[in-house]
Symmetry: C2
Subunit: 257 residues, 2 copies
Amino acid sequence: MIRIASRFLALPSRQISMTEMSEQFKVSKTVISEDMAIIDKAFREEGVGTLKIGRGRSGGAAMKPGFSGNDRSSFLGKVAAVLSSNDRILPGMLIHYSDILFNPAFARPLGYALASDFAGKEPDVVMTSEVKGIPLAIFTAHALGVPMAVCRFRNRPGDGPAVAVHYPSGSGEVRTMFMGTRFLTSGKRALIIDDFMRGGSTAAGMLLVAKEFGAQVIGIGIFIAASEPEKKAVSEYRSLLRLERGPDGTPVVKVRR
Amino acid sequence: MIRIASRFLALPSRQISMTEMSEQFKVSKTVISEDMAIIDKAFREEGVGTLKIGRGRSGGAAMKPGFSGNDRSSFLGKVAAVLSSNDRILPGMLIHYSDILFNPAFARPLGYALASDFAGKEPDVVMTSEVKGIPLAIFTAHALGVPMAVCRFRNRPGDGPAVAVHYPSGSGEVRTMFMGTRFLTSGKRALIIDDFMRGGSTAAGMLLVAKEFGAQVIGIGIFIAASEPEKKAVSEYRSLLRLERGPDGTPVVKVRR
């Protein structure tokens, strides 16, 4: 049973066939079904997700990762407190957060939190832009059981053929993004994940990339969104945290309500 | 027991206290110890790793992720076969592999393979360089239970203070790398992980970065190393795969022996 549980945890959101498990472990499907119920209960109690059991004889099961409730708010509260420390303030209403995203102990639960926010919309690819969004996006993609597609700001011979898309940056100049032709195809349901949003121009650029490939963007999930400017270049997004101006004018990070 | 197993799997290489578990689940430490033995057996059978149980009364246990034997060779063989496909050949003895590294279904086991190669040397940070090395390095770091430090090729205001290091590129020009001052400190045991090595100049640059911080490099692990040039800018490294010139002159990927 631990072996079965470890398969679900290693490959979240992937279907695992009950028939295969029953053959491999030489037990009946009824026993496997009973095991599933116990594993589901343990996953729920542990706050790591739930088992979704498919219907039909050939049916399999998949673990839908979940990260919600008290565990989630206390974790995000801890991250916000760490980020609000004085020694993280950078000039230009910026804070230093890359060490958080480059640490799997933070990036993994943050990615799982974003995955659980958007799992219901059944994305089949996670889009992000280089560089700091990548660790967050890869854990989100891992939790959702889908690949990641990275918008690059340059394209070199080893990166292969790419589509170039031009978009206006926050400061008004025109910037270029590249997306490898292997990463997106028409009809894909793309979830955009990024580390930071100020005016939303990068996210708007990624919308243009998706459009160019005929992919459908089903949501935009951000680690930290700045409260200023209030008006963003994209109409809808969700962020885990908000960067606000504190009473003394210095930046402070809060959990988004 | 499934709840305990899921904690080890979620946080590989991290110590989990037996006392805490025995208190939380309201069972004696003897029962927890027996559970550990069963979980260890299941992890070994499943090929995901082993439990290392600390000594002493306050002792905890940690899952050392392992990925070796037949599962490993058949997985790497599959990756090599995928990469050797004709439609991945790029000009300049290069192949297209970024979609593999950007897919957690590949990046995770590849990162675990590198982690199991170097776990014995007990690194306490994984160093990589942007961009394609990041997904591999973050899963390696996750498996080892340590943070990741990323060498950047530029430094912007949101990235915070950084040390700049200059190093010769393969073509002879001098390039610059930046490492944020928060990421490395003197005495750290750094494992360098990167996606590709041709001449080894990027890895040699990362050695200079480590030296600048007074960190000790305990190993270099690479996803794909090119067989040409035979002489690299670094004296020792391990790669999972090798990129060789096939009989007809086109690139072919093989599992490193």
